[in-house]
C-alpha cells in the first residue's frame, strides 16, 4: 500500500529516547490517518485513570496518506490527546507546512510520551532525532522562537508552544509555522506539561503514489473544479472567512456580549469588507493550496496572518468591541503567546458579564477594546485577573458561582454562530465529541449559505440527519488530512478516488463516509468511557431558555430534546446515546476490542 510511510516515531521524553516501528496497516485502512488514527491510538494508550496533565497522557501527531502528495491542500496534520480543558478526547488540526514536512521526514505518526525533567526541544531530520536543552528558550514567545529555531517554509518547519502553554493555561494552543494553530481544547497545555517547547522538522522524501497517472488526472480535475467554484476561486481569496460577519448578523445569529444578544450594532465595522478595505495587505495560502483564504493584515502595531472570522467575532461582537485594529492586534498577541482565540475571547466576554453583573471584581467591561491586549498577556502569564481567566470560561464562571454564564458545551467555548438562529448548529455543538465546536460539521452551509441547498434554519424535525451526515463527512476529511474548504468545490467522491489512486486500496464515497462514522463512534465511546453521559449533550441554559427579544431570530430557543432523540436513533445509539452493538459490528469496531 502506498501513500502512508508505514512508520511510527515513538518518543519517550522522560528517558529522552525514541523508537520507530511499522504502522499497523489494518488500522490505517480502517481509520486512514489524521483524526482517525489519532482516535484509535488514544483509545489504547490513555484511559480514564489518566489526568490530562499527567505524564501518562500522550500527544499523537498524525498526517494522512494524502499528506505531502501535492493534492489540493494536502498540507494539514492533526494532534490527538485527552483535553485538559474538557476531559474529552481532543483532536485539533492545522495547516501551513509542518504537516507536509513531517510526512516528508518519513513518518505517519509521532507519539510523544512522558515528561522531560527540564525543558527540551526535539529536532527531526529524517531518521536523525535529537533532544536539545530548551532551558534558554523557555519563556520565549512564539514569533521569536520560531525564527530562532530556523523556520523556513521550504526546508525547516517549527512547531512550538508559547508562554501560555508553559504556564499550563488550559486554553493554550500549539503553534506551527509561526501563525498556524492547533488551537482548541488545550493541546498546548499538554505539551507544556511535558516540558516540551518545540518540535522542528526537516525532510524531503515525497510519499509514494500507487497510480501516478490517475492521481495526476484527478489533481487536474480538482484544480478545475476549485477554479470553477465561485466560493473557492473568488469569495475566499478576496475576503477570507471574515466575510461571514455581515450575513450572520443579518439573520440574527451573531452571538453578542457573551451571547446576551444575537445581533451586533458594530458588525459592519468588523466585517470582512472592512478588513479588506482598510487593513488587508494580501492573501496567502498553505502548501499546495490554490484557494488562498489566509489574510495578511497590518495595523500600526502588528502585521501578520489573520484574523479569521471566529477570532474577529470572539474579540469583536462577543466582547461588544467594534475596534478592528484592536481585534487584529489581539489575534496577533494570541498567536505570539500560543492561545486559542475563540476560547480566549469568549472567556474575556464571560468575565465582562460576570463583572458587569457584580459577581466578579475584574474591571473588565464590554466594549473596552483597550482591555484586550493587557488581559491576554495576563492570561498567558497567569497574573492578576489573568490567573482567573487562563483556564477558560467554565472554570472562571464556576469559581464565581455562575457556571451558566459560560457559553460552552462540554467546557469548550462555542464559536461564532448563535444556535438560537440555527437549530442544526445547536445540535452540532451539543453532540460534538470535543465540545462546542463548529469544525465537526458546520451547519452554516445548508442553514445560512444555501450550500449545497438552503434548508429552514428553524426547522427541528429531520434536522439531525443533516447534522449526522456533516459530522461523518467532516471526520472523514479530517482523516485524509485535507482542508475542508476543498469540499466547497470538490465533492467527497473525488476524495475517495484520489485516496484510491494514492494508496492502491479501493475506497468509494460510501466507504469514505463510513470511515468518518467509525471515527465519530469511537470518539463517542472514548468519552463514554471517560464518564460523559447524555446529560453532557447539552447547551448553556441561555441557549435553551432565553430567546432573543428582537430581530429575525426573536422568540427562538434551541429545541434540543426532540433533535437529540432523533439524532441518537439515526446514529444507531440507544436512548442514552450509547452506540448499540449492531452499530459497532457494522463499523467493525467490535473487531478492535472496543
Amino acid at each position: 500500500m502506498n501513500g502512508w510511510n508505514n512508520k511510527v516515531l515513538d518518543i519517550d521524553l522522560t528517558a529522552q529516547t525514541y523508537e520507530t516501528y511499522p504502522l499497523d496497516m489494518e488500522i490505517a485502512r480502517l481509520f486512514i490517518g489524521g483524526r482517525g488514527l489519532g482516535a484509535c491510538l488514544l483509545w489504547d494508550l490513555v484511559g480514564p485513570e489518566v489526568d490530562p496533565l499527567d505524564p501518562e497522557n500522550v500527544l499523537i501527531f498524525t498526517n494522512g496518506p494524502l499528506t505531502g502528495t501535492g493534492y489540493q491542500t494536502s498540507n494539514r496534520f492533526s494532534v490527538t490527546t485527552k483535553s485538559p480543558l474538557t476531559g474529552t478526547i481532543l483532536d485539533a488540526n492545522s495547516g501551513g507546512f509542518w504537516g507536509m514536512r513531517f510526512k516528508k521526514a518519513g513518518y505517519d505518526v509521532m507519539i510523544v510520551r512522558g515528561k522531560a525533567s527540564k525543558p527540551v526541544w526535539v529536532e527531526i531530520k529524517n531518521e536523525e532525532i535529537t533532544f536539545h536543552d530548551a532551558s534558554d528558550l523557555w519563556g520565549m514567545r512564539v514569533f521569536a522562537l520560531t525564527e530562532k529555531l530556523g523556520q523556513n517554509n521550504n526546508k525547516r518547519n517549527v512547531l512550538c508552544i508559547g508562554p501560555a502553554g508553559e504556564n499550563l493555561s488550559r486554553i493554550a494552543a500549539i503553534m506551527n509555522d509561526r501563525e498556524r494553530a492547533l488551537a482548541r481544547g488545550g493541546p498546548g497545555t499538554v505539551m507544556g506539561s511535558k516540558n516540551l517547547k518545540a518540535i522542528v522538522v526537516e525532510g524531503k522524501t515525497r510519499p509514494k503514489i500507487e497510480d501516478k497517472g490517475r492521481f495526476k488526472f484527478l489533481l487536474y480535475e480538482s484544480r478545475k473544479l476549485l477554479a470553477a467554484s465561485p466560493v473557492t476561486s473568488q469569495a475566499l481569496p478576496e475576503f477570507g472567512t471574515v466575510v461571514l460577519m455581515n450575513i450572520m448578523n443579518n439573520i440574527c445569529a451573531l452571538p453578542t456580549r457573551n451571547h446576551q444578544q444575537s445581533q451586533f450594532e458594530g458588525a459592519e465595522a468588523i466585517s470582512g469588507e472592512a478588513l479588506t478595505d482598510n487593513y488587508l495587505v494580501k492573501n496567502d495560502s498553505c502548501w499546495a493550496c490554490p484557494i488562498g483564504c489566509t489574510r495578511i493584515s497590518k495595523t500600526d502595531k502588528v502585521k501578520g496572518e489573520g484574523p479569521e472570522f471566529e477570532s474577529t467575532w470572539a474579540f469583536g461582537a462577543q466582547c461588544g468591541i467594534d475596534d478592528l485594529p484592536a481585534i487584529i492586534e489581539a489575534n496577533s498577541i494570541c498567536n505570539d503567546l500560543g492561545l486559542d482565540t475563540i476560547s480566549a475571547g469568549s472567556t474575556i466576554a464571560c468575565a465582562m458579564e460576570l463583572s458587569e453583573k457584580g459577581y466578579m471584581n475584574s474591571g473588565l467591561r464590554f466594549g473596552r477594546a483597550d482591555q484586550l491586549a493587557p488581559t491576554l498577556e495576563a492570561m498567558a502569564a497567569r497574573e492578576n485577573v489573568g490567573a482567573d481567566l487562563a483556564d477558560g470560561s467554565f472554570r472562571l464562571a464556576s469559581k464565581y458561582g455562575h457556571p451558566e454564564l459560560s457559553m460552552s458545551a462540554k467546557g469548550l467555548e462555542m464559536p461564532a454562530y448563535d444556535p438560537r438562529g440555527m437549530q442544526g448548529q445547536g445540535l452540532l455543538y451539543a453532540t460534538s465529541n470535543r465540545g462546542g465546536c463548529h469544525m465537526r460539521g458546520n451547519m452554516v452551509g445548508p442553514e445560512v449559505l444555501g450550500l449545497p441547498k438552503m434548508i429552514d434554519r428553524f426547522q427541528v424535525q429531520g434536522k439531525s440527519s443533516f447534522v449526522t451526515l456533516h459530522q461523518n463527512v467532516s471526520a472523514a476529511i479530517d482523516s485524509l488530512v485535507i482542508c475542508k474548504f476543498t469540499n466547497m468545490g470538490v465533492a467527497e467522491e473525488y476524495f475517495a478516488r484520489v485516496l484510491s489512486a494514492v494508496t492502491g486500496i479501493h475506497y468509494d464515497t460510501g466507504e469514505l463516509t463510513q470511515v468518518g462514522e467509525r471515527i465519530w463512534n469511537l470518539e463517542r465511546l472514548y468519552n463514554l468511557r471517560e464518564g460523559f453521559t447524555k446529560e453532557d449533550d447539552t447547551l448553556p441554559p441561555r441557549m435553551l431558555n432565553d430567546a432573543p427579544a428582537e430581530g429575525p431570530s426573536a422568540g427562538r430557543v434551541v429545541k434540543l430534546n426532540p433533535m437529540l432523540k432523533e439524532y441518537y436513533r439515526g446514529r444507531g445509539w440507544d436512548e442514552n446515546g450509547v452506540p448499540l452493538q449492531a452499530k459497532l459490528k457494522e463499523l467493525k469496531l467490535v473487531n478492535l476490542g472496543v
Binding site: 467554484s229 465561485p230 466560493v231 473557492t232 473568488q234 469569495a235 475566499l236 478576496e238 475576503f239 477570507g240 472567512t241 471574515v242 466575510v243 461571514l244 455581515n246 450575513i247 443579518n250 439573520i251 440574527c252 470582512g272 469588507e273 479569521e308 472570522f309 471566529e310 463548529h438 469544525m439 458546520n442 452554516v444 452551509g445 445560512v448 449559505l449 444555501g450 450550500l451 438552503m454 434554519r457 475542508k484 474548504f485 466547497m488 430581530g551 429575525p552 431570530s553
Partner: protein
C-alpha cells in the same frame, strides 16, 4: 420603499452598499405598496445595470447567491416584499 443592501464584492460591482429602489418602467404593481422579490430585483438591475447577470440566471436566483428579506432566506422571486422591508443580497461566500 424597500431597501436593498449589498455585501462583499456586490458592493464593488455596484459601487454602493445600499440602494433604495424605485418602480422600474412597465411594472404592474408599485413597489411602494407591495411587490415581490422578482420585481424588486428587476428594479435594482434597472437602477444598477452593472448587476445584470450577477444575481439572476435563467429567471432564477443565481446559484450561490443568498437573498434574505428581513433576515429570512428567500429562495425564489415570488416571495412578497413589503414597502418597509430590507432585502440583503450576498454573493458566494464561505467561512468557518
Amino acid at each position: 420603499m424597500p431597501t436593498i443592501k449589498l455585501y462583499a464584492n456586490l458592493r464593488n460591482i455596484a459601487g454602493t452598499t445600499e440602494v433604495s429602489i424605485t418602480p422600474p418602467s412597465g411594472m404592474l404593481r408599485s413597489v411602494s405598496r407591495e411587490s415581490n422579490l422578482g420585481a424588486c430585483v428587476s428594479a435594482l438591475i434597472e437602477q444598477v445595470p452593472a448587476l445584470d447577470g450577477v444575481i439572476v440566471e435563467d429567471g432564477q436566483i443565481k446559484p450561490y447567491i443568498v437573498i434574505n428579506i428581513n433576515g429570512h432566506a428567500a429562495t425564489n422571486f415570488d416571495v412578497p416584499v413589503g414597502k418597509d422591508d430590507v432585502i440583503a443580497i450576498f454573493p458566494p461566500m464561505a467561512g468557518g
